[in-house]
């Protein structure tokens, strides 16, 4: 066999082997991803003292105090933020097209000092300095590349009307839904239920991929103030029974 034919044959053989190996790696990755799917619905009652042990703490700027507290015959998650921003993060993989619902109960005891204005206003460039919320819940949709990861945030805001959808000043991939508004229910437990499939379509105009994580955060780093909120009975990934 002429030399160059041999070189060519060996080269194409090598390329074939690389392709087969890459395909195998991708196949194993797909299998593993499916095996990691969560048992649904996942309920976080925050009733055990060690209920936070399954959550990861993610510190942005300073540490928010998250703790399980007891009061009036119930246990709940308390978040207390003083000039700080950190969240608790839970990895949970499921398809929101099959299990689109999420619900929780929350109460705000103290709002951050200043509230933001709507995205797109002339004051938009300063909006990032007011991006603090007494209570917020994240649903995170990871993508193959981190910069394409999308996120829905459900917030309780003092000023913005309920139903408002705004884009985060940090990224266009983060959409905030005002689920509860005003001070009327301060100190009272409020039930919230959302269809993340519909919310995602409303926010991004297309169907979502798989959910990869949820998170909770109470933050006051931008407004340099204090906020306090409680959360309980978080239920993730169930079908809409209505």
């Amino acid at each position: 066999m002429p030399f160059y034919h041999q070189v060519e044959a060996e080269g194409s053989m090598l390329l074939k082997r690389i392709s087969v190996n890459l395909f195998l790696i991708f196949f194993i990755f797909l299998l593993t991803a499916d095996a990691c799917a969560a048992r649904l619905p996942k309920i976080f009652p925050f009733k055990e003292k060690n209920a936070l042990s399954e959550w990861q703490e993610k510190i942005f700027r300073g540490r928010v105090l998250y703790s399980v507290k007891a009061g009036k015959g119930t246990r709940y998650l308390r978040a207390y933020s003083e000039n700080s921003a950190s969240g608790i993060f839970y990895e949970i993989k499921f398809d929101p097209r099959q299990y689109p619902m999420i619900s929780w109960q929350w109460t705000v005891l103290r709002f951050p000092a200043a509230q933001h204005e709507l995205a797109g206003n002339a004051a938009g460039e300063h909006w990032i300095e007011k991006d603090d919320y007494a209570a917020r819940l994240y649903v995170i949709f990871p993508r193959l590349s981190f910069n394409l990861t999308k996120c829905l945030e459900y917030v309780w805001d003092k000023d913005l009307p309920e139903g408002t959808i705004i884009t985060s000043p940090y990224s266009g991939n983060i959409k905030l839904f005002v689920v509860e508004s005003g001070t009327d229910n301060v100190g009272k437990w409020v039930f919230a239920e959302r269809n993340i499939l519909e919310d995602y379509k409303k926010a991004f105009g297309k169907e979502p991929g798989r959910v990869g994580a949820i998170a909770i955060m109470t933050d006051t780093d931008n407004t340099q103030s204090t906020a306090e909120a409680n959360y309980k009975e978080l239920k993730v990934g169930y079908k809409d029974e209505k």
Partner: protein, 135 residues
């Protein structure tokens, strides 16, 4: 030393492409895997999307700019290296074929001459010995 590095023969074209692909494909795979792994793992470790947008995306943008600038330089360097390597292999084959054609046509007798650093010098020497024997 041969001045013309690209003699445009099928052997050189194939060797050139093969050497270039053999260098670029694994490099691209490793670089992409590293890029993907490092940034995605960091993003997942940060968790909170605002944290990722505020801290990681600006870094990724800087890295992308550096890659955009350095990638053409790296590819050019690989291409030049591939050209040099392909020429070291294709040049002597071309020369050997040419010498043999001249001898078959009866235009010249005597040994095939290759440069001492040529890859196929040993093969040429053996052909010369064989021709000596068969005289």
């Amino acid at each position: 030393m041969r001045k013309i590095k690209f003699i445009n023969t099928p052997v050189q074209n194939k060797t050139l492409l093969l050497v270039f692909a053999a260098a670029v494909i694994p490099m691209a795979i490793v670089a992409l895997c590293l890029y993907y792994l490092i940034f995605n793992m960091l993003a997942w470790q940060m968790g909170i999307p605002e944290m990722v947008a505020y801290n990681l995306i600006p870094v990724a943008r800087k890295v992308n700019i550096i890659l955009l600038v350095s990638l053409p330089i790296a590819l050019l360097a690989i291409w030049l290296t591939a050209l040099e390597l392909s020429h070291r292999i294709a040049g002597p084959i071309y020369r050997l074929e040419k010498e043999l054609d001249i001898m078959i046509a009866g235009k010249r007798q005597g040994p095939i001459k290759l440069r001492s650093r040529d890859e196929l010098k040993a093969l040429a020497d053996k052909i010369n010995k064989l021709m000596e024997k068969s005289k």
